[in-house]
Symmetry: C2
DNA sequence: GTTACTGCAAAGCCTTTGCAGCTGA
DNA sequence: TCAGCTGCAAAGGCTTTGCAGTAAC
């Protein structure tokens, strides 16, 4: 908790209860929530907090590289406090998103992309889609 | 041109002038345009065509796997008639998007992700971001 | 003749913005 | 104190929807 405060201060961000709650919530979850989900899960703790504050806070955190924004092709963004290099896998059925560390293949892929394209790379977003183990057990048919 | 008609018919899609134009335009460009861009570039040819028709057509094509929708983290989607497996690289400065065939590293990455995660994978989206050769020559500073 | 598509307008939805008031440092 | 944050409401921007008319087959 104190650690979170220190991180925000390091980035010259004012430490407000709302920000701390959002930051703490994101660092303690693995579900990669949307702004709406974060807002709803914190309504009990902060009944007067507005959705706009959640958006502004998330945007501020993204700017300061404290969290990252995920674009999974859904209606809304998701947010992830894991900022170590990693890729995401989403279940096409239950929509769960799991992390996976960037494997050695990604490092060499990145190098080859850089060499072949001539781009000077600064980042990447890698998303895999499929059926998670749980949904496989439920024998759910993949529609596509 | 006849080929395009045949492809649409194969998919039980009615062949209308609007659809043919959109399909043709997408298959003859490398810029990965947005719906708005497609709409504007076809206004001269189809002055009465509405943006809603463009969206409906694109959605229909995506459903039938004739094109793919790209999510680059911009305000709007982009569309790509190249449906062979490939990854995308976007210039963080000029926003240009280029294709690159899926390299061998991706195949082995995919296998390892499948084995490690237990997911049964059905697809992936891989985006790299960086500075394209042209913008590098312009000595543009990367802000992030 | 059916079925499906087009075009227009309106609505939907996520996200951003403006601004007054408040609060953390 | 005072820059910066919060909260409310409204606006913005992309995309979807409803529906009547029209075109493809």
């Amino acid at each position: 908790m104190l650690e979170l405060t220190a991180i925000l201060k390091e980035h010259q961000l004012k430490v407000t209860p709302q920000r701390l709650s959002i930051f703490k919530m994101l660092r303690n979850t693995k579900v990669h929530p949307s702004a709406e989900t974060i807002y709803n899960s914190l309504r009990e703790e902060h009944p007067t907090m507005s959705l706009a504050t959640v958006y502004k806070t998330l945007d501020s955190f993204v700017q300061h590289r404290l969290i990252q924004q995920l674009n999974l092709g859904e209606d809304s963004y998701r947010y992830d406090a894991n900022i170590t290099p990693h890729l995401h896998i989403q279940c096409v059925n239950c929509k769960e998103v799991v992390d996976m560390p960037l494997l050695t293949q990604v490092i060499s892929l990145r190098e080859e992309v850089e060499n072949t394209s001539g781009f000077k790379l600064t980042g990447e977003q890698i998303y895999f889609y499929g059926l998670c183990p749980t949904c496989q057990k439920k024998r759910i048919l993949i529609k596509c």
